[in-house]
Symmetry: C2
Subunit: 151 residues, 2 copies
């Protein structure tokens, strides 16, 4: 579990020019379960998947509440939102920056271990007139299972 019951999470860290969201004020039952469910390694569920799992513990939770909390938590920096236009968003309980790997066949997403990526300096970019605050890197390919199935 990420946060002890009743403990307010840290306020959103200030970030250059980023409009800061409402942060968490209350640790509700639903929110606690949701955080607990998201706290697994190398798991990148869609909102729908989170919803189905959370319902085992909170059968009357609404999908809206799941979306609302996933949004709040990701904007607040507690979880990561993986956005790709045209597809379903995925969420990642791990808030520290890291890269992802996506199977082009089944759509599943995995973490890329830092040591698997080789570049000597962690990537330097300079574009005149632009203030760069970060980058997102997604690797694409085919997972072992999908490779097998297609042979």
């Amino acid at each position: 579990m990420r946060l002890p019951i009743g403990v307010r999470p840290a306020r959103p860290k200030e970030y250059l020019f980023v409009k800061m969201p409402n942060s968490i004020q209350r640790m509700t039952r639903q929110r606690r379960i949701l955080l607990d469910v998201l706290d697994r390694k190398n798991w990148h569920p869609t909102a729908e998947e989170v919803y189905h799992i959370v319902r085992k513990q909170a059968p009357r939770i609404s999908l809206g509440t799941v979306y609302r909390n996933l949004d709040i938590l990701s904007r607040q920096g507690t979880i990561t939102k993986i956005e790709e236009a045209g597809t379903q968003r995925r969420y990642d309980g791990n808030p520290t920056p890291h890269y992802h790997l996506k199977c082009l066949d089944c759509g599943e997403v995995w973490d890329v271990p830092d040591e698997a990526v080789t570049w000597q300096r962690p990537l330097d970019v300079a574009i005149p007139g632009f203030t760069i605050t970060g980058h997102r890197l997604l690797f694409e390919g085919y997972c072992a299972r999908c490779m097998e199935e297609r042979q």
Copy 2:
């Protein structure tokens, strides 16, 4: 203009395990206009934006036709589909691999000139059990105009 009228573009290049799309068979008026409109440097319109511009030359074109063609052309390799930047997909008339830059404030997307990116080894990744076919890299930050407006 990318393709002379009446010239069929190259058939889709075969690619490991990728289901190949229907490729272009006919150079229709609508398709010609669309390709013409997309052929601008450093422009990354949404389907909606393309639609509005194409309609100046083909007022009765449907949004469905725009989507259909953007999809066919990108799968065929004539244009690039940008999925990682925001909620709406964007399209890029430039089919050669390159990176993009997105303003987190206005949502606009630009090309990153290759020489602006510095990494000593050209990015190497090895993940057991995974066949990597490519990667997508998106830089995020704030453009000059948005920086100014917020000061």
